[in-house]
C-alpha cells in the first residue's frame, strides 16, 4: 500500500548524503514537492501518481547536488582557505596522538615549557635592567655629573662631585638647563612619637629635584615641597609605616632626636628600576653642605638637565676649567706642587657627564647610590636565554622528527586519500603550534608560581610584571606561535615527504636525510650545555676567590654594630662588658670596615714634596686581631707603646708605593695631623677594601682607640649560640646607649653586597645551567628512545644470537659518544673566549684550569650516560620475542 509520508521521507533521504544541502535547503525541496503533489492531486491524480509525477518533474538529485556544490565551493575558496572539517579532523588527530603517546607529549611540553619559562624570566630581568631610569620623561637629557681622576697611575671614577659644582655649572654653561643634587646620609634615627627607627632609606635633595626627575608626587606641590629647610617627603609605604591611615601632610617627624621635620609631600613608591632609591626625601637646605663653597670633601650626587643635542664631550672639556679654578689651588696647597708639575707627573682630575639611563649598567664608579648592574652580564644573560630557548626548540624538533616514524602510516593513508603536501605540512605545523601553546600555558603557570623565588634570587623587585602587562601576554603567545611554527616546520617537511607506497608496504625506515640534522642539533645542545656548565664553574670559582681566598682578612662571624656614637663615653665600658661573654673573642672599633667607604688622605714623606694618597682608617688596638690581618713586617698598634698615637700601619701596596727600601721607621707627614711626624711601625699583607673589580688600594691605618664614630665589630668564637650572643650584645648596648635602637649587620653578608651582581650572576648561572641540562636531558631521552625503537628488531636478533647487555649498550651509545666528542671540540674554544671575556672585568682573577674544561665535559658524559644506559638497558632487557613478533 502506498504511503505518501513514507515516500516523501524516503525521497528526502537522497539529499542527506550530500554536503551541499543544509537543512534549510532540504526543507525548501520538501515544501516544493508537497505543493506540487497537492496541485497534481487537485488535477485529479491519486497520491501515488501525484508523487511519482512530482518526483519525475523534480529531476535527478545528484546533478542538482553538483550544482549546489559548486555554489558552496565558490564560497569557501573565497572566504575561508581552510575547510573546517579538515581542521576538525586535524584537531582530533592531534589530541588522539597526544593521548596515545603520553610520555612523548609530556617530555615535549615540559621541555618547551621550562625553556620558555626560563626565557621569560631572563627577558624580564634584561628588560628590567635596560629600563633603568627611563621612566623620567626627559631621561635623554638628564646626566649624572661625575669625576674621573688619575692619581699616581690609578684611574678612579667617582659617582659624586663637590657641592658647589651644580651652581658653577649653572653660572658658566648655557647648555645646562637645570641641576639638582642629592645627598646620601648614613642611617638616621627617626622618631614617629612611639618608637625610634634607624632609617637608611633617607636622601636629601635640592628643591629642584622634581623639575629634573619624574618621581610622582601624590600629595604636595613638587615646586615647593623641598623649598623650606626641614621639609620631608615620604613614600606611600613609609606614610603607612609612620602614620597608618592618617593624613601625613603637615605632621612632624623627629630625626636624630633634635630636628623636627614636617611632611610636605607623599610620593608614589620609587620604581624598582630607578638608580636613586629612597623612602624619605628631606630638603637639602636643612644641611650645612647645601651652601658650602668648599670643593674638597663635599660630595654630592649631582644631576644636570642639558639642552637637547648638547655635545657632552665639548662641555666636559669646558668643565675642566672648574677644576683649575677651584680644585687645583687646594691640590697645590696640599701637595706643595704647582698644578702644572702635578699634571706632568701623570695626575689628572676631570668631570664627565654620564647619561642617566647608562648609570645603572655602565658605571664603574665607586660610591654609587645603589649597587649597579653590568652590561657584560646583560649580554651573558641574553646569550643564555637564547641558548636555553634554542635547546628547547631543538629538543622539540628532534623529538618530533624521531617521533615521525610512528606517524608514517597515518601520513601514507592521508596521502592516498588525497591529502596534498601542503595539507600535511599545515597539519603538522598546526599540531606543533597546539603543543607549543600548551607549553606556553604551562610556562605561564611556572613563571607565575616561581616569580617570588626568582625575585628572591636576583634580590630586586622587577619593574615589569608579567601578569599585569598585556604586552607581555601577547609577547608570550606570539613567542609560542613562533616557536611552534619554527619547531614544527622541519618535522612537517620530513613527514610530508614520505612516499605513501613505501610507507604502506611497511618498508619505511627513518628518513636518512634528517639524521644529520638531528645529530647537528644534539651536538649543538651538548656544546651549549658544556659552555654553560664551564661558565658556571668559572663564575663560581671567581666569586669564591674574591670572597674567601684573596681577601687578606677574615670576615666570618663578625657582628658589626652601627652608630657607636650613641654610646657617648661608654664605648670602653661597653667593649669590656662584651668581652665577658665567652662566645666573644674580640671587640674592636674603627672608623670604617672593608666594603664600606674609606676616606682618602694625602701624605708626604719627610723632606720630600711628593704626595701620596692613601685610604685612611682610624682603628683601635684590636683591629688586626679581629680581622685576622697578617703582619709582614714590624708590628701592629699596641698599648705598650705610648708613642703609637703618632704611629701608622700601612698595607703592602701603600708601602710599596712609597718606594723606600726600608719603610719601617720612616716618617710621614699629613696636613690632617698638622705636620706631626708619623712613624711607620708595621706593614700588613694586602687586603681588599673594595670590590676586586679594582686592584688593591693603598691603605694607611691610624690609631684612634676612643673614636666613637664608625662601627664596633664583635668577633664571635664560633657559629654556635649566635642568637644568644646577639641578644647578649643587644642588652649591653641598650644599657650603655640609653635605649637607642640596636642596629647591626653581619660583616660577611654586608661585604657580599660588593659582589651583588657577581653572586646574582653566579646563582642565575647555576639555575639556568641546571635547567638547560634538564631540557637537554629530556631531548636526549627522546633521542635514545627513538634510536632504540628503530633498532628494536636488530637488537632482538642480536640478543638471540647471544649478545649481552653490555655489548648492546656499547652498540647504542657509540653514536652519542661521537656527538659528545664533537661537542667538546666545538665548545672548549668557546668556553675559553667567553670566560676570558668575563674575567677581564676583574683586577684579580682566578685561573681557569684544564679541570674546568674536563669536568664540564665529564658532567655531560655522566648525565648522558645515566640517561642513555637507562633507556638502553630498558630496551635490551626486553624479551627479543616482543620485538620480532611485530608486523
Amino acid at each position: 500500500m502506498f504511503n505518501l509520508e513514507d515516500s516523501i521521507d524516503q525521497w528526502l533521504r537522497n539529499f542527506y548524503g550530500h554536503r551541499a544541502f543544509d537543512h534549510g535547503s532540504i526543507r525548501e525541496m520538501e515544501l516544493h514537492l508537497r505543493d506540487h503533489i497537492e496541485d497534481l492531486m487537485a488535477e485529479g491524480h491519486d497520491e501515488k501518481e501525484a508523487f511519482q509525477l512530482a518526483v519525475a518533474d523534480f529531476g535527478e538529485i545528484p546533478k542538482m547536488a553538483k550544482e549546489e556544490f559548486w555554489n558552496q565551493r565558490r564560497k569557501t575558496t573565497i572566504k575561508t582557505l581552510i575547510y573546517t572539517a579538515m581542521i576538525k579532523n586535524f584537531y582530533f588527530t592531534t589530541i588522539r596522538n597526544l593521548l596515545k603517546h603520553k610520555s612523548y607529549f609530556l617530555i615535549n611540553i615540559l621541555g618547551l615549557a621550562v625553556g620558555m619559562a626560563s626565557f621569560t624570566f631572563i627577558s624580564l630581568y634584561i628588560f628590567n635592567e635596560l629600563s633603568y631610569d627611563r621612566f623620567h620623561a626627559n631621561h635623554e637629557n638628564i646626566y649624572g655629573v661625575r669625576t674621573e681622576s688619575v692619581i699616581r697611575g690609578q684611574l678612579r671614577n667617582g659617582a659624586t662631585v663637590a657641592a658647589p659644582m651644580a651652581r658653577s655649572m649653572m653660572d658658566n654653561y648655557p647648555e645646562v638647563v637645570r641641576t639638582t643634587r642629592v645627598l646620601r646620609s648614613g642611617a638616621l634615627l627617626v622618631d614617629n612619637g612611639n618608637e625610634k627607627i634607624n632609617e637608611s632609606q633617607i636622601l636629601f635633595a635640592d628643591s629642584g629635584f622634581f623639575s629634573v626627575f619624574d618621581f610622582r608626587l601624590l600629595k604636595g606641590n613638587p615646586r615647593t615641597a623641598l623649598q623650606h629647610p626641614k621639609s620631608i617627603i615620604l613614600t606611600e609605604d613609609y606614610v603607612r609605616k609612620y602614620f597608618g591611615d592618617q593624613d601625613p601632610m603637615g605632621q612632624k617627624i623627629v630625626i636624630e632626636d633634635t630636628v623636627f621635620y614636617s611632611v610636605t609631600g607623599v610620593l608614589e613608591n620609587v620604581p624598582p628600576n630607578s638608580h636613586i632609591q629612597f623612602s624619605m626625601l628631606g630638603s637639602l637646605n636643612t644641611k650645612p653642605i647645601n651652601n658650602t663653597n668648599h670643593w674638597i670633601g663635599t660630595d654630592l650626587y649631582t644631576y644636570a638637565v642639558l639642552k637637547e643635542k648638547t655635545k657632552t664631550d665639548e662641555l666636559e672639556g669646558k668643565m675642566k676649567q672648574i677644576f683649575y679654578d677651584h680644585i687645583a689651588p687646594e691640590i697645590e696647597y696640599y701637595t706643595g706642587m704647582t698644578i702644572d708639575d702635578w699634571e706632568k707627573a701623570g695626575n689628572s682630575v676631570g668631570f664627565n657627564l654620564m647619561p642617566i639611563k647608562d648609570i645603572h649598567l655602565y658605571s664603574i664608579a665607586t660610591g654609587e647610590l645603589e649597587p649597579t648592574g653590568n652590561i657584560t652580564y646583560i649580554h651573558a644573560y641574553a646569550l643564555i636565554g637564547v641558548i636555553i630557548l634554542f635547546i628547547a626548540i631543538f629538543n622539540f624538533i628532534n623529538l618530533a622528527t624521531a617521533h615521525s616514524a610512528t606517524r608514517a602510516k597515518e601520513v601514507g593513508i592521508r596521502k592516498v586519500v588525497g591529502s596534498t603536501k601542503r595539507n600535511l605540512i599545515f597539519q603538522f605545523i598546526l599540531e606543533s603550534v597546539v603543543l607549543s601553546l600548551m607549553a606556553c600555558a604551562l610556562a605561564f603557570v611556572i613563571t607565575i608560581a616561581s616569580m617570588p623565588s626568582f625575585i628572591g634570587l636576583i634580590g630586586n623587585d622587577l619593574a615589569f610584571d608579567i601578569t599585569s602587562n598585556y604586552i607581555a601576554w601577547l609577547a608570550m603567545a606570539g613567542l609560542a606561535i613562533v616557536v611552534g611554527i619554527l619547531a614544527g616546520s622541519y618535522p612537517s617537511f620530513v613527514l610530508s615527504r614520505f612516499q605513501p607506497v613505501e610507507v604502506l608496504k611497511g618498508n619505511f625506515s627513518s628518513p636518512g636525510r634528517s639524521g644529520w640534522l638531528r645529530n647537528l642539533l644534539v651536538t649543538l645542545q651538548f656544546s651549549a650545555s658544556i659552555v654553560i656548565i664551564a661558565g658556571t664553574i668559572v663564575v663560581y670559582s671567581q666569586i669564591d676567590y674574591m670572597l674567601v681566598k684573596n681577601l687578606g682578612f677574615d670576615k666570618e662571624q663578625i657582628l658589626v654594630i652601627e652608630r657607636p656614637d650613641w654610646l657617648n663615653n661608654n664605648l670602653e665600658v661597653f667593649k669590656n662588658e662584651l668581652l665577658k661573654n665567652p662566645n666573644i673573642s674580640s671587640v674592636a672599633n674603627s672608623e670604617t670596615i672593608p666594603g664600606k667607604i674609606y676616606g682618602t688622605r694625602s701624605y708626604r714623606k719627610n723632606n720630600n714634596n711628593e704626595v701620596y694618597l692613601f685610604k685612611n682608617n682610624q682603628v683601635s688596638y684590636e683591629h688586626k686581631e679581629l680581622l685576622g690581618f697578617e703582619i709582614s713586617a714590624g708590628r701592629f698598634f699596641s698599648k705598650e707603646f705610648a708613642s703609637d698615637s703618632n704611629a701608622v700601619v700601612l698595607n703592602e701596596s701603600a708601602a710599596k708605593s712609597l718606594g723606600i727600601d726600608e719603610p719601617l721607621g720612616a716618617h710621614l707627614i699629613t696636613p690632617w695631623k698638622k705636620g706631626q711626624l708619623l712613624t711607620i711601625i708595621g706593614i700588613v699583607k694586602d687586603y681588599n677594601i673594595e670590590s676586586l673589580h679594582n686592584s688593591v688600594a693603598p691603605v694607611l691605618l691610624e690609631l684612634a682607640p676612643n673614636n666613637n664614630g664608625g662601627y664596633v665589630s664583635v668577633k664571635m668564637q664560633n657559629s654556635k649560640n649566635i642568637r644568644e650572643t646577639v641578644t647578649f650584645v643587644e642588652n649591653a648596648w641598650l644599657r650603655h646607649s640609653n635605649d637607642k635602637p640596636f642596629d647591626y649587620f653581619f660583616f660577611d653578608e654586608d661585604y657580599q653586597n660588593l659582589y651583588k651582581s657577581e653572586s646574582t650572576t653566579g646563582q642565575m648561572f647555576v639555575l639556568f645551567a641546571t635547567l638547560s641540562i634538564f631540557i637537554a636531558c629530556l631531548g636526549l631521552i627522546g633521542l635514545v628512545t627513538y634510536t632504540a625503537s628503530i633498532r628494536r628488531k636488530e637488537i632482538g636478533i642480536r640478543k638471540i644470537l647471544g649478545a649481552g647487555t653490555s655489548t648492546l649498550v656499547r652498540l647504542l651509545s657509540t653514536q652519542i659518544a661521537r656527538l659528545i666528542i664533537f661537542a667538546t671540540i666545538v665548545s672548549w674554544p668557546l668556553v675559553y673566549f667567553v670566560t676570558d671575556y668575563w674575567l677581564r672585568n676583574f683586577a684579580d682573577r682566578t685561573t681557569v684550569g684544564l679541570w674546568v674544561y674536563l669536568s664540564s665535559t665529564l658532567a655531560i658524559v655522566a648525565i648522558v650516560g645515566v640517561a642513555v644506559s637507562f633507556q638502553t638497558i630498558k630496551t635490551t632487557m626486553s624479551n627479543p620475542m616482543e620485538s620480532l613478533r611485530q608486523d
Binding site: 515544501l31 516544493h32 518533474d57 550544482e67 549546489e68 555554489n71
Partner: protein
Amino acid sequence: MISKNLTAASTKPIILGILKQGNSYGYLIIKKIKEISGGQMKYSDGMLYPVLHRLEKEGLIQSKWTMENETRPRKYYEITKLGKEALVSEQKQWSQVNAVLNEIWNAKPTVK
C-alpha cells in the same frame, strides 16, 4: 521545445524578471515559468534551486522564511537593488541578441 543550453542561459533573467513583478517562492516561480512558456521551456524542477541559491549568494536576490496565513512556511525570494540592475543589463543583452538575429534573418540575400 527550447534547447537545454538556451533554457539554462535564460534562467537568470527569467527568475529576476519574475521576482521583479513580486516576491515569490520556489514552487510558484517554477509554475509561472511553465505557464508563460506554455511548456516550451522544460526544466527539471530541482535545477531551479541551485540557481536561486547562487543568485542569493551573488546578492541579486534575498530570501526569508515567512508564515503568512497559510499552513506551510514558505521561503520567499525578493529581488535586491543589485538584482534589478543585473536584470536591466540582462534585458539589454538579450535585446541585442534578438536584434542581431532579427537583422540577420530578415536581411535579403545579396548577390554580387
